[in-house]
Amino acid sequence: MRRILFVLLLTAGIAIAAPKVGSSITIRVLSAKVMKTPKFIGSTAGSVSRGDQLVVKEVQGDWYRVEGSSSGWIHKSNVAEGKVTLSSTPGGGTGKVNQEEVELAGRGFTPEVEKKYRDKNPNLDFAHVDAIEKTSIDPAELEAFVAEGKLQ
């Protein structure tokens, strides 16, 4: 039984190997910067949003060079493999959830569940976290911050 289980787990592991050149990926995070070089901190080539679909042109470790609405490098942790129809609200907006989204994002804790939780806890003010998550720091500014601080 252990051997069977090992084979099953290995099969699941293979499913998350790097995408092939020419295949598509879908942006999973709300927004991400496409970088000019394969690193998190540096000059950006453009921006992408959740649901954007791009074609992989090159793979370097965990970084994919992509082409599409923006062209450049993006890290694997920001994407889902293949073409997936995603709404801008993670897990699907109310009434707009589709089968692909359910299969990718899973059930459990979704916008519908958060809404019910908020209705039951009206004392909690989510406006703060709504505002906080809208802020961001430009990777090019971070590059200057790193250089000034003599990091790396």
Binding site: V29, H75, A105, F109, T110, I132, I137, E148
Partner: protein
């Protein structure tokens, strides 16, 4: 064996196609919920935990007005710059079983509380008390604080503190891949969500995580710190400062963390493996300037 049978039974009950992937996924989830909660799930958990923690602080946090206009105030922008440099190092490390990038990015908030403490709310939301920022003596020591919290996030410690029994109760709904859930199913999930909030806040604020969990956050945190280009020894210096400030006290981090002395003893071996770096004056100075008005 019994887990596999339960997984198969659950998959069948949910009318899922029985594939090797679904069986493996079910088996994993029944064993450890943190491996099965998607980044999307974690996003909603993180938003709610952060809101609960801010509520406990009466929504008092530094430069709150700037956030309302979509901007970061100067002190908060500085802490977010340090935090995002560390987060980049953490995500670039690709450690086995690390959580992927948070769906909404990394966000660092300075809570207007003089108690020495910090919290990783899951989903990339990190709250650090003003008292802890002021206890640090340099950017590298502040970075050590943030690296420890980032380590909690990437290792999934908050979502890992959700009781397995609670997750098992909603497992059928979690595997249900139909597009629309009915009211009863939503009710079950919402009840589990509330329970998950209790478990996580209990772990962060009341009981604390296990000693091993905290040591793992230190061990991974010091590696993140070094990978980002900071001096790993700053982690030990910070712990020494905290030990002096709180000693055997019971408030703040003392209530939820092993003693600083124990943490230093555990961390010295890890620190010795990492390259020592001189802290340039510029980092000390810009830290002082950024936190001067706190």
């Amino acid at each position: 064996m019994k887990y596999l049978l339960v997984a198969i039974a659950l998959s069948l009950s949910c009318k899922m196609q029985l594939t090797p992937e679904s069986i493996a996924k079910s088996w994993h989830a029944y064993q450890d919920a943190k491996k099965d909660l998607t980044p999307e799930n974690e996003y909603y958990v993180g938003r709610s935990v952060a809101t609960n923690l801010l509520s406990r602080a009466s929504y008092k946090y530094v430069e709150a007005d700037a956030f309302k206009t979509g901007e970061l105030g100067p002190s908060t922008a500085y802490v977010n710059a340090v935090g995002n440099v560390l987060a980049a190092a953490a995500m670039g490390a690709s450690r086995k079983d690390d959580r992927p990038s948070p769906i909404a990015g990394w966000h660092f908030v300075i809570v207007d509380d003089d108690t020495i403490n910090a919290f990783a709310a899951a989903g990339g939301f990190i709250l650090v008390n003003k008292g802890l920022v002021k206890a640090a003596k340099s950017e590298d020591e502040l970075a050590a604080v943030l690296a420890h919290e980032i380590a909690h996030t990437v290792r999934g410690h908050a979502i890992g503190s959700i009781k397995k029994s609670r997750m098992a109760g909603v497992y059928k709904e979690m595997l249900n891949n139909t597009v629309q859930l009915d009211e009863a199913q939503l009710g079950t999930l919402t009840k589990a969500f509330e329970g998950a909030m209790d478990d996580m806040i209990d772990g962060m604020v009341v009981k604390g995580y296990s000693r091993d969990t905290e040591f793992e956050a230190d061990r991974v945190g010091i590696k993140i710190l070094a990978d980002a280009g900071y001096d790993p020894q700053a982690f030990l210096r910070l712990l020494e400062t905290l030990e002096k400030k709180q000693g055997g006290g019971k408030g703040g981090f003392s209530a939820t963390h092993p003693s600083a002395k124990d943490r230093i003893a555990k961390l010295e071996t890890e620190a010795a493996k990492l390259e020592k770096r001189k802290v340039p004056k510029v980092r000390v100075e810009r830290f002082k300037n950024a936190v001067a008005d706190l």
